[in-house]
């Protein structure tokens, strides 16, 4: 069984009236089934409001499913009395870099998670040193997070999660507020963790360029998983993606346009090299 598994998962946001009675429900996630293997790099794509963030928050027991079941490392998030066990296994990085850093000095922030878990002091220091190194932030350890760039702040947030020694990291649109350089920085840090430390990565995003290296891509729309497959399988369906308010990397789009214009070229080209290979054989 995978490290994160969902069965017929559903989630409703409830709207209460003034007396505290449920006035309306809004379905944010509907009938989602997932099975994510340890060590995978999984991307979840979807436009704003497609339910992808709601799904992510259930992987960390920040939200408990209204329907169906979510297992993290074989623990049922709805039944586990010690929620922080789940939260330690599935660490989470959020969108806004300013709103998730608690410490006023980088290293203190990285130590926040282990402190909460009751890790002994010596061990906290080891973990902080180690996580800062893995995210390339050692040089900034004594700085105030306010002085860092967006990409660096997100790397601090990632280091803070790594220090909890999770088996998987869920990143909820970690690059949405960053500039292209910051985005690259964060993605490199994440794929490094995935490759070298074998940490399972679940990346929620709407930037198509970021999912090319994923093992598996899920596309969400209206709370449902509407497409799943390898990046190549997903990106070969340009028109379907457009229907879901998404696009494809420009190289894929160009190949698609050429294909439409009658050029003998396969769909789902993901990189510049592939395109050159297809056209200059």
């Amino acid at each position: 069984m995978g490290i994160i598994k969902a069965f017929k998962l559903g989630f409703d946001y409830l709207k209460y009236d003034e007396d505290g009675n449920v006035e309306a429900t809004q379905r944010a996630v509907n009938d989602v089934n997932l099975d994510i293997e340890a060590g995978d790099f999984v991307a979840v794509l979807g436009h704003n409001g497609s339910g992808k963030s709601t799904l992510a928050k259930q992987m960390n027991a920040l939200l408990i499913p209204s329907e169906g079941t979510m297992w993290v490392d074989d623990m049922d998030t709805a039944k586990e009395p010690e929620l922080w066990k789940i939260r330690q296994r599935a660490g989470m990085v959020f969108q806004n870099p300013d709103n998730q850093i608690i410490g006023t000095v980088v290293e203190e922030d990285v130590g926040f998670g282990p402190e909460n878990m009751g890790v002994p002091t010596d061990e906290i220091w080891k973990r902080v040193d180690d996580s800062l190194k893995k995210t390339g932030m050692t040089a900034y350890r004594y700085q105030s997070p306010n002085k860092l760039s967006g990409g660096q702040k997100q790397r601090v947030a990632i280091a803070g999660v790594v220090a909890m020694r999770p088996s998987c990291i869920v990143l909820d649109e970690p690059t949405a507020m960053l500039d292209p350089n910051g985005r690259k920085e964060v993605l490199e840090a994440v794929s490094e963790l995935n490759k070298k430390e074998n940490v399972t990565v679940i990346l929620i995003t709407h930037y198509m360029e970021e999912v090319i290296h994923a093992n598996k891509v899920y596309v969400m729309d209206g709370g449902n998983v509407v497409m799943q497959g390898t990046p190549r399988e997903i990106f070969s369906q340009v028109e379907t993606l457009k229907k879901y308010r998404l696009d494809v990397p420009q190289v894929t789009l160009l190949a698609h346009e050429l294909h439409k214009a009658g050029v003998d070229i396969p769909e789902g080209i993901l990189t510049k090299e592939e395109l050159v290979g297809a056209l200059c054989r």
């Binding site: 920040l62 300013d98 709103n99 850093i101 410490g103 203190e108 130590g111 878990m117 009751g118």
Partner: protein, 267 residues
């Protein structure tokens, strides 16, 4: 203007004062404030000044940076001086209509001004050399006995630490919101008091909404990192007194003894 507020800002440097235990600095700051109120003569203030100057030098924080913090209390300072000057009865030295400035008033105004300024500088040195986290750790530790009275010391300390971290962020945000509204023709400077208050609405509404959103996000981020209050929590930087702290306490006690001695001797 907004950038000038230094209270609650940490100035990173490698100095003896920075390395002191936050408890030492907290107790020391309280001791210093007490001394400022104990001294009441020129000689006494000279001693306080020398002590303060020594601390500033030891802290390696640029003097300019420390004085910047005074800008924010400038108005308060003026008001204090003004009212002390005109409301203290005594020997009249200058008179305009019903406003009388007395000799005693001038002395009192001067004393109050010195006390206020030293109080701010003294506490700025503490906040500039102590990260808010250390500060709250220190407070939490010193106030721990109150736990027995069911005061949620840990929670209060955590709230303080978060407030301190978000002050610069919210100030910057205020700046941005002001600019966005000025670009839409908002006027934050002209008009009478009521108009001015009304003109603040376009600034305050976005600021509050943003603050609440941040609070919400942060609470979620803290939960996601296993925060569940102070129970079973360990510390990355547990507080331990070192040799330098013992020395600092001795210096502090000696200084306070001088202050008390001066007071008793009427100097």
């Amino acid at each position: 203007m907004i950038r000038d507020i230094t209270i609650g800002q940490y100035y990173p440097a490698d100095s003896l004062i920075h390395k002191l235990d936050p408890r030492t600095k907290l107790v020391g700051t309280i001791g210093f404030i007490v001394s400022v109120f104990l001294f009441h003569t020129f000689v006494g203030y000279a001693v306080a000044t020398i002590f303060l100057a020594g601390m500033i030098l030891l802290s390696k924080v640029p003097v300019k940076f420390i004085f910047k913090g005074l800008k924010t209390i400038f108005m308060l300072l003026l008001i204090t001086i003004f009212f002390n000057m005109i409301l203290t009865p005594g020997e009249v030295v200058w008179k305009l209509g019903f406003i009388k400035v007395t000799n005693e008033g001038l002395v009192l105004a001067g004393t109050m001004a010195i006390r206020l300024v030293y109080l701010v500088i003294g506490s700025s040195i503490m906040t500039l050399t102590t990260t808010p986290n250390q500060l709250t750790d220190g407070l939490e530790c010193l106030l721990r006995p109150l736990n027995k009275l069911h005061v949620p010391v840990h929670d209060i300390a955590m709230m303080m630490s978060i407030a301190l971290r978000f002050i610069p962020i919210l100030l910057e945000e205020t700046d941005k919101i002001m600019k966005a509204q000025i670009a839409r023709g908002a006027d934050f400077e002209n008009g009478n008091l009521i108009q001015k208050a009304k003109n603040m609405v376009p600034l305050l509404v976005p600021l509050f909404i943003s603050a609440f959103r941040r609070a919400n996000d942060l609470a979620m981020a803290m939960e996601a990192r296993c925060y569940h209050g102070g129970d079973n929590r360990t510390q990355m930087k547990p507080l331990t007194y070192k040799m330098r702290d013992h020395v600092a306490y001795v210096v502090m006690i000696a200084y306070l003894a001088v202050a008390i001695g001066f007071r008793a001797a009427g100097i």
